[in-house]
């Protein structure tokens, strides 16, 4: 449904994105994850036909964004990053305007307008002037206009920025419920959001795609060691050295809390039983022993701070 082939975009001499290629299949929800200024918005602006790429090509629903821009744009619902609406219009007026520009007929427009107003929780604000709405409501209006013409492809640039926690959950659920019928590409710099709403994550950093896959696959791919967290009551200072002597233990370092250590062991090994037995036999007082999962957050940090790619 969405296909990007070697997209490169230069602003003056400075490249915003370099050779970005990816695909989003029909019905998928994909997160475009990256720190600020990584090139997410630039990529989305190219995919929505707002501006052309310097090199490379993009297709949405089989239409090339450079050659058949109008057909492609008809099939896209776009929610830009900055919630930019006309402050002097009323919500229903604005949606009506958007619908007419999308070429919707009167009957269809009325029906879809009622639907999106309801789905986005705008029923009580439908005749409010947009300029008087809170950011949360304006965000919903922006989402409503993206969904209005029932586009097969939705491109949402940071859809939950500025919302309160309850609204965030609502919007995420709404996006999730679009899966299947719609193809969704959403950008975010919030990791749990990507993890919760999306089946697949594309991580972009400094204009280049650095990793791609399901959240689980990405964490597995990057894991170089199994990590255990061990907490000991009576730490006499020799614990670290002694545990390190166990074969299969790769590394041992202090955790934040006193008496706690991260024990890294070889990939695929499970030394919980051996280590607990060892500590109990020494009589150090074992308080805690648990495996530490690498979160998507760690993956993200690893990929975007160091220059390490797995894709």
């Amino acid at each position: 449904m969405i296909q990007a082939d070697g997209l490169t975009k230069y602003y003056a001499q400075h490249p915003a994105i370099v050779d970005v290629s990816f695909q989003v299949e029909e019905g998928e929800i994909v997160a475009f994850l990256g720190p600020n200024a990584a090139g997410k918005t630039t990529t989305m602006r190219i995919l929505t036909g707002y501006m052309p790429a310097t090199f490379g090509a993009a297709q949405v629903t089989g239409f090339d964004l450079a050659e058949q821009s109008l057909q492609a744009r008809r099939n896209i619902g776009y929610m830009p990053e900055a919630v930019a609406l006309y402050p002097d219009m009323r919500v229903h007026q604005y949606l009506g305007y958007c619908g007419r520009l999308q070429g919707m007929g009167k009957a269809e427009l009325t029906e879809r307008m009622d639907y999106v107003i309801d789905r986005c929780g705008l029923s009580e604000r439908a005749s409010s002037i947009i300029g008087t709405l809170s950011l949360g409501f304006r965000q919903r209006v922006s989402l409503a206009q993206a969904m209005l013409h029932d586009p097969p492809v939705l491109i949402l640039d940071e859809p939950t920025v500025g919302l309160d926690p309850n609204q965030i959950v609502e919007v995420r659920n709404l996006i999730k419920s679009l899966a299947g019928d719609h193809t969704v590409l959403l950008s975010t710099h919030i990791l749990p959001e990507a993890q919760m709403t999306c089946e697949r994550v594309i991580i972009i950093n400094e204009g280049e795609i650095v990793a791609e896959g399901s959240p689980q696959a990405l964490t597995a791919q990057l894991r170089q060691a199994e990590t255990l967290l061990v907490t000991i009551r009576d730490d006499d200072g020799t614990v670290a050295r002694q545990i390190k002597n166990i074969p299969e233990v790769v590394d041992m370092r202090r955790a934040e809390q006193a008496g706690s250590y991260y024990v890294e062991t070889e990939v695929g090994s499970d030394l919980r039983a051996d280590i607990s037995k060892f500590i109990v036999e020494k009589g150090w007082g074992l308080l805690e022993l648990r495996p530490v999962e690498m979160s998507l957050e760690d993956v993200f940090r690893e990929l975007t701070t160091e220059e390490k790619g797995v894709a």
Binding site: G49, R73, A82, A84, L85, D88, Y97, L101
Partner: protein, 239 residues
């Protein structure tokens, strides 16, 4: 066509939801009314031919009014970020430009139609040459449309409304004053300047003469300005 009307309708409505349209209309009609009173009530020797001067001064006012109407058309969309959504709609760039242009022209047309009430009032007490008046108004509308086109172009090059208005006023003043230069340069160059002058091309209309040469002048001004506006909009690489 539908897209053009949708955009024109939206812009027209926002003229009326902001105080812009009212302020400018009152200002415009007020000054014209003042000149009207000054000519016909305070000058005992006034002739109905003086209406020509009235229409002439309307054009000069138009030169300042139109840029204020057009300054926001694109500049504001750029500044507020709504441009991005507008340009990702399945709408052609020229449809957006023409729609906005038509909104300004129709607002201007309705204001000058209201101002027709002045000669109608005069008709009560004197014989008015309606052929001359209507020709003058036709010229005024045509010139106003040309000003609006230039204003649309000025608004498309910047995201600052004030800058857009200033650019438009200066371009219009240049086209207004270039005729005056024609007397201080050589004959042939002077002719070129005269042909480029808004005032020279408008004067025939105010005398009650419709000349295709003048119509073509204003139509080309509209066409070139709107064309440049479309090209500017198309080129959003740097925005």
């Amino acid at each position: 066509m539908r897209n053009i009307l949708t955009i024109a309708g939206k812009e027209l409505r926002s003229y009326f939801t902001s105080p812009m349209a009212y302020v400018l209309a009152v200002f415009y009609l007020g000054i014209i009314g003042y000149i009207f009173i000054a000519i016909f009530l305070l000058m005992p020797q006034a002739q109905t031919e003086h209406l020509r001067d009235l229409i002439g001064s309307m054009l000069f006012l138009t030169l300042f009014i139109i840029p204020m109407l057009t300054m926001g058309l694109f500049a504001q969309e750029r500044a507020s970020g709504t441009m991005e959504l507008l340009m990702t709609r399945p709408v052609r760039d020229w449809e957006v430009v023409i729609g906005k242009f038509l909104a300004t022209v129709s607002l201007f047309a309705s204001v000058i139609i209201v101002s027709l009430s002045y000669p109608v009032i005069l008709e009560v007490v004197a014989k008015v040459d309606w052929a001359m008046i209507l020709t003058g108004y036709f010229g005024l509308l045509l010139a106003g449309a040309a000003f609006a086109a230039l204003g649309v172009f000025a608004s498309s090059v910047t995201s600052n409304q004030i800058a857009a208005a200033i650019i438009a006023v200066f371009m219009l003043l240049f086209l207004w004053l270039i005729g005056a230069l024609s007397y201080s340069v050589s004959q042939s160059l002077g002719d070129v300047f005269k042909h480029l002058s808004v005032l020279e091309n408008y004067q025939d209309f105010s005398k009650g003469i419709i000349d295709t040469k003048n119509i073509i002048y204003f139509l080309s001004l509209i066409f070139v300005s709107l064309f440049l506006a479309v090209r500017t909009i198309e080129n959003r690489r740097t925005v």
